[in-house]
Amino acid sequence: MAFRFIHTADWQIAKPFARFPAQLAGELAAARVSAIKRIAGIARGSGAAHVLVAGDVFDNDRLDALTLRRALEHMRAESDITFLLLPGNHDPAKAGGIWERLVRLGLPGNITVLDAARAHAVSAECTVLPAPLTSKSPGRDPTEWMADAQSAPGQIRVGLAHGSIQGFSSDGESTAPIAPDRAARAGLDYLALGDWHGTTRIDARTWYSGTPEPDRFPDNDPGNVLAVAIEGAGAPPSVTVVRSAQFTWIKREVMLADAADITALDARLSGLSPALASVLLRLRVSGSLTLADAAALRQWQESFEGRVRHLELDDASLSVRASAQDLAIAGEDGALRDAALALAEISNDVAHSDSAAATRALQMLYAFAAKVRQEAS
C-alpha cells in the first residue's frame, strides 16, 4: 500500500509584515496560520494522514506564548492529521528555545517535534530521517548522518531537512548546505526540503515544497504544498503540486509613454486574476509621461487600489515631462509659465540634484493649477 504524505515547509508563522499597513499585515499574518487548515484539507483530499513540515514552522524562535498556543490549537483541531515538525534556521532547536517552550505549553498528540537527528518510524512502512537545525547557521550539512541511519529492510526512507542544496541558488540566508545527491547517497526514497520559498524539483526524489502562503513579491512559485505518494521502498515517488495560498502576490514592470498605455495597463491588470481582491500587486512603472498623463496615472492608481488587496506603485523610474499642452495651463500668466518651464528644465536634467524634486514640484504645480481653476469655476 502506498505511503502518502504532504510535504510542506516555511510556514513562518507570525511573520510580522510590518512594512505593510497594519490591517493588511494582520491579514497576511492570519493567512499563515489559517494555512494549517487548508493544508489539512489538502491532506485529507489526497488521502494523506501525515504532514511533514521541513523547517521554519515559526518565523522566529522568540515568539509570544499566545502565538505559539494559537498555532498549536490550529494543529490540534486537525486531529486526524499528524504533523511532523522540523526545526529550521528561523526556529532552531536550542536549549531554552521555542521547541522546549512548545513542549512546556503541552503538545497535542497529533504533533511530533523532530528535534533530534534520529530515525523516526512514522508508520509500519515508513521511517522519517529528520535533520533538525540547532542554530541559525550550523555551517554544516545536517543531512550527512542519513547515509549511516539504519532502518528496517523494506521500509520507505523519507529524509526531512532544511537548508540550501549546494550549487542551487538561494537567497543566501541558509548556511546549512545540503549535498545535492543526498537522496541517492543515503538511500532515501524522498528528500523533503525546506528553506526555498518557491516550489522546486531538484531531482525525482528531492523537492522543495516552497512556502504554502507567499510572503513576498516572488521571483519564483510559492503558495503550494506537495502531495507525495510512494508505492514502496525504492519506488519512484509521485509528487503533485497543490495550490494552498490565500493571497496572490504579483510583481509587474511596465513602461508607459502616454495615456493609452495607462488604459492598456488597466485592461491587462484587470484580467490578472478572477480574485483581484486577494491580489497584492507591486507595479514598477518606467518610461516618460506628460504632467497630464502622470496625473491620469495617479488617478488610475487611486481607483485600482480599491480593486486589489494592495497596490505598490513604484514610479522612481518614471520621468514626468511638461509638454507644451501641460504648460498651457499657465495661460497668460507669465510668472506661472516661467516657473513651469524652469521646473521642467531641472526635471529633464537627470544630472541635476533637484531633478526628482522638480518632477514632483511640476506635478504639484499641475495639481494646484487644476485645483485653482476648479475653485474659480
Binding site: 518565523d59 522568540r62 506564548a65 528555545g97 506661472l336 514632483r360 504639484m364
Partner: protein, 749 residues
C-alpha cells in the same frame, strides 16, 4: 494735467487774497523769503485738488486764517485737452464749482464737481498720481515710498501705487497675468505650512511631517529596545544552557562519590598519623622523666660523697676550736682579773699629777709653823689634833690649832687660809682617788700599777690573736660546728653510697630504653611536612565538597531566576519583535521620506514660483527705472537704482556697490527722493497722463555742485512736464532755468 493759475483768500496766512496767475508749462520757481507763504500756497493747491469742499473739523480750522474767515481756493488747470477752473469755498457757504474755461460753462457743482475733478486729475481713493509728484516741505528726506501719510510718515492708502499700477497696466497684466502664479504660490505655501513652520524652516509641531519624524524616532527607539531585549534574551539563553551543563556536572553523583571517597581515605590516613603523633609525644615525655630521674640519682650520689669529706673537716675544726676556746677562756680570766685597766691607769696618772700640783701649791704658801717638840715632849703638841713627834714645819693653810696638852691651844690663822684650805681639800681628794685606784688595781703604788697595766695590755693582745684564730676555725661558733657535724653524721648514717650508685645505673638504663622507644615511634610515623600536606589535602577536598554543594545551590537558584525572566520575555514574545519593529521603522522611514520628498518639491516649487513672480515684477518695474535713469545719471553718473515691488526705492547702486536708501547721507537721500518723484512724473508724462511736479522747499541739504546737477536735471525734466519749485533760498536755484512766479493781490471774485 498742468497748472495754470492758483488763487487763495481767507486761507491760513493769506487773509487777503493772493494770486499766481501765470504758471508756465515748464519749470516754475517761486522764490521768496520765509513767511512769504509758500507752504500755504502748497496747501492751497492740495486743498483745491485733494480736499473735499465739505471738509470740517480740524482740517477746516487749519485752513482758516488766524483772524477767522471762510477759506477760498481757486485753481486754473489744463486736463484732458481742456482748460478748467476749480473753485472751492470751505466753511460757511461751502461749495465747489468746476468751470470749463474754454466754454466758460460751469460743468459741475458741489459733489459732482468733486467727482469730475477727481476724474480729470486721476485722484480717487486718495491723492493718487498727485501724491506721487507733489512733495511737501520736510518730506524730501523721507524715502520716496508710496502710500505713506506725508504728515505722520505711516502707511496710508493714498492710491499712489494704484496710480502707478494703473499707469503700467499693460506691463503689470503681462507680468502678473491672471494672478494664477500667486494663487498657486499661496496654495503651495499653505501646503508647506502644514509640514513646516513658516519662516523658521523647522517641522511644524504636531504637523504630519513632525508626527512622522516622531514616529520614526519612536520606531527607532522601540527597535533599539527590542534589539536589547533580544540580545539580552539570546545572552540569557546561552547562560541558561551553560548553567544547565554546569549544574549537571556539579550534581553528577559519580564525581561527588569520588570526592567523598577521597575525603574518607585522607581522614583515615590522617587519623592514623595523628595517633602515632600522640604516641611519640608520650614517649618523648617519658624520656624526659627518665632523664630527670637519672639526674636526681646522680645528684644524690654526689651529695653523699661531699658529706663525707665535710665531716672530717668539721671534726678537725671543732677540736681546734675547742682548744682555742679553753686558752681564750683562761687568758680572758687573767685579763679580767687585772684591775689595771688603761682607764684606771690614766685616772691614776691624772690624779697623781693633780696631787703633786696641789701639794706643791700648798707648799708654796707663806705661813708656816715650825714646831720643834722638845725632847720628850714629843707628841705633846698636837697640831690640829696630830701629835707632833718631831720637828716639823707645818704650813698653815688656814688655821692650825696647836694643842698643847695642858697648856692650851694656839690657833694660827693664815691669811691664805681660805685658799689653802681649798687646795688642801683638793689634794686630799686626789689623794683619796689615788688610794682608791691603787686599791682597785690591787697594787700598792704607782710603779706596780704601771707594771700591772702593761701586763694587762700584753694579755689583751694575746687574747685578740687567739680570738682571731678561733673565728677562722669556727666562724659561727662551736655550737654551729657541732650541729653541722651532728647533721652530717645523721646524713652519713642514712646514705648508702652503693645503693645510690646502683640507682644511678638503673636510671641511666631507663633513659636509654625511653630514648629507643621514642626513636622507634618517630620512625614509624609520618613526618611533619607530609602530615601538613595531607591535612591540607583533606581540608581542600572538604572545601571542594562544600564549594560544589554551594555552587550547585547557587547555580540552580540562578537558573530558576533566569528561566523565570526568560519565561516572562517569552510569554510576551518581546525578544521576537525585532523584525516587526524593523518593518515599522521601515514604514516610518518611508513616511518621512515621502514627506521630505514633498517638502523638497514644495520648497522648490515655492522658490521657483516666487522667483518667476519677482522676475516679472522686475520687468514691470523697468519703466519706472527707465523713467528715472536719465535724471539719475545727471546727478549720480553711472549709478543705478533698485525698487521693491511696491515701487519703493530700495537701494542706490554705485560702482557696483549696493547702498540701502536708509544708509545714505541726508543730501543724497533728498536728491534721490526728488529724482524718484521726477521719474514718476516723467513716466506719467510719457504715458500721456501728465502731472505737475510740485516741490515745496526742496534740496535744503544739497551742496552747490549737487544742487546745480539737480537743477540741470530739473531743467531737462521741465521739457517733458510742468515743474513748480517753491523755495526761500533765492540764490540756490539760480541754475534753474525757470519761469519766476510772482504773487499778486486777489479779491476773490
Amino acid at each position: 494735467m498742468r497748472l495754470v493759475a492758483l488763487r487763495a483768500a481767507q486761507f491760513r496766512r493769506f487773509s487777503d487774497g493772493v494770486a499766481i496767475d501765470h504758471i508756465s508749462p515748464g519749470v516754475n520757481l517761486l522764490a521768496g523769503p520765509n513767511e512769504l507763504g509758500k507752504s500755504t500756497l502748497f496747501e492751497a493747491l492740495e486743498a483745491a485738488f485733494l480736499v473735499p469742499h465739505g471738509t470740517g473739523g480740524a482740517r477746516l480750522e487749519g485752513f482758516r486764517p488766524r483772524g477767522g474767515g471762510e477759506p477760498l481756493v481757486e485753481v486754473d488747470f489744463e486736463a484732458g485737452g481742456a482748460r478748467w477752473r476749480i473753485r472751492k469755498q470751505f466753511g460757511r457757504g461751502k461749495t465747489a464749482i468746476l468751470t470749463n474755461l474754454d466754454t466758460g460753462r460751469v460743468e459741475a457743482r458741489a459733489g459732482e464737481a468733486e467727482a469730475q475733478l477727481s476724474r480729470l486729475t486721476g485722484t480717487g481713493e486718495g491723492p493718487g498720481r498727485i501724491g506721487l509728484a507733489w512733495v511737501r516741505q520736510q518730506r524730501a528726506l523721507q524715502a520716496p515710498d508710496l502710500d505713506v501719510d506725508p504728515v505722520t510718515g505711516k502707511a496710508k492708502t493714498r492710491g499712489e501705487a494704484n496710480a502707478l499700477t494703473g499707469l503700467l497696466a499693460q506691463e503689470v497684466v503681462e507680468a502678473a497675468g491672471s494672478g494664477l502664479a500667486e494663487d498657486i504660490l499661496a496654495h503651495a505655501r499653505a501646503e508647506l505650512g502644514q509640514y513646516m513652520t513658516s519662516g523658521r524652516d523647522v517641522p511644524k509641531r504636531n504637523g504630519p511631517y513632525d508626527t512622522a519624524l516622531k514616529a520614526r524616532e519612536a520606531a527607532r527607539s522601540d527597535l533599539m529596545r527590542a534589539r536589547e531585549v533580544a540580545a539580552a534574551s539570546e545572552a540569557r539563553l546561552v547562560q541558561i544552557a551553560d548553567l544547565t551543563a554546569r549544574l549537571r556536572d556539579l550534581e553528577d553523583p559519580l564525581s561527588a562519590a569520588d570526592l567523598a571517597r577521597r575525603i574518607e581515605h585522607l581522614s583515615k590516613v590522617i587519623a592514623a598519623a595523628q595517633a602515632n603523633r600522640d604516641h611519640c609525644a608520650r614517649a618523648a615525655s617519658d624520656l624526659k622523666s627518665r632523664r630527670l630521674e637519672a639526674q636526681a640519682a646522680r645528684d644524690a650520689l654526689d651529695k653523699a660523697k661531699a658529706a663525707q669529706g665535710r665531716e672530717a673537716e668539721l671534726k678537725q675544726a671543732l677540736s681546734a676550736a675547742q682548744a682555742l676556746g679553753a686558752e681564750i677562756a683562761e687568758l680572758a680570766k687573767a685579763f679580767n682579773a687585772n684591775g689595771a685597766t688603761p682607764q684606771r691607769a690614766a685616772q691614776l696618772e691624772n690624779a697623781r699629777a693633780l696631787f703633786t700640783r696641789e701639794q706643791q701649791a700648798l707648799e708654796g704658801m707663806s705661813t708656816f709653823v715650825d714646831i720643834a717638840p722638845a725632847e720628850g715632849a714629843q707628841g705633846k703638841i698636837e697640831a690640829d689634833g696630830a701629835p707632833v713627834m718631831h720637828a716639823a714645819r707645818l704650813p698653815v693653810r688656814e688655821r692650825l690649832t696647836l694643842q698643847i696638852a695642858g697648856i692650851g691651844s694656839i690657833r694660827v690663822i693664815s691669811s691664805d687660809a681660805e685658799q689653802a684650805a681649798q687646795i688642801a681639800r683638793r689634794r686630799d681628794e686626789s689623794h683619796k682617788i689615788i688610794a682608791r685606784l691603787l686599791e682597785e688595781m690591787g697594787v700598792a703604788d704607782d710603779a706596780q700599777a704601771c707594771a700591772k697595766a702593761a701586763q694587762r695590755v700584753d694579755t689583751g693582745v694575746r687574747l685578740d690573736a687567739l680570738r682571731l684564730r678561733f673565728v677562722e676555725v669556727a666562724p659561727r661558733g662551736i655550737a654551729v660546728l657541732e650541729t653541722e657535724l651532728s647533721d652530717l653524721a645523721a646524713v652519713h648514717a642514712q646514705c648508702d653510697e652503693a645503693r645510690l650508685a646502683a640507682a644511678l645505673e638503673d636510671g641511666n638504663a631507663a633513659v636509654r630504653a625511653a630514648q629507643q622507644a621514642y626513636e622507634s615511634m618517630v620512625s614509624e610515623g609520618v613526618n611533619e611536612d607530609r602530615f601538613r600536606v595531607m591535612t591540607g589535602e583533606l581540608d581542600g577536598a572538604r572545601r571542594e565538597f562544600a564549594r560544589r554543594q554551594e555552587e550547585a545551590r547557587r547555580t540552580s537558584e540562578l537558573l530558576e531566576r533566569l528561566r523565570g525572566e526568560q519565561a516572562g520575555v517569552d510569554e510576551e514574545g518581546r525578544a521576537g519583535e525585532v523584525e516587526r519593529l524593523l518593518g515599522l521603522l521601515e514604514q516610518a522611514e518611508e513616511a518621512v521620506r515621502r514627506y521630505e520628498t514633498d517638502i523638497a518639491a514644495l520648497k522648490l516649487l515655492i522658490a521657483t514660483l516666487a522667483r518667476a513672480i519677482e522676475d516679472v515684477r522686475t520687468r514691470y518695474l523697468e519703466p519706472v527705472t527707465n523713467a528715472l535713469l536719465p535724471y539719475l545719471k545727471q546727478v549720480f553718473p553711472g549709478a543705478g537704482v533698485a525698487f521693491r515691488d511696491s515701487f519703493s526705492l530700495q537701494a542706490l547702486t554705485r560702482a557696483g556697490e549696493r547702498e540701502d536708501f536708509a544708509s545714505l547721507s541726508d543730501g543724497t537721500r533728498e536728491q534721490l527722493a526728488v529724482l524718484v518723484r521726477m521719474g514718476f512724473a516723467g513716466l506719467f508724462a510719457a504715458r500721456r497722463a501728465p502731472v505737475p511736479l510740485v516741490l515745496d522747499d526742496p534740496l535744503v541739504y544739497s551742496d552747490d555742485e549737487r544742487l546745480n546737477a539737480m537743477c540741470a536735471a530739473l531743467n531737462e525734466a521741465g521739457r517733458s512736464y510742468q515743474i513748480v519749485v517753491l523755495t526761500c533760498r533765492q540764490t540756490a536755484f539760480t541754475a534753474l532755468d525757470a519761469h519766476r512766479l510772482t504773487l499778486a493781490p486777489w479779491t476773490g471774485s
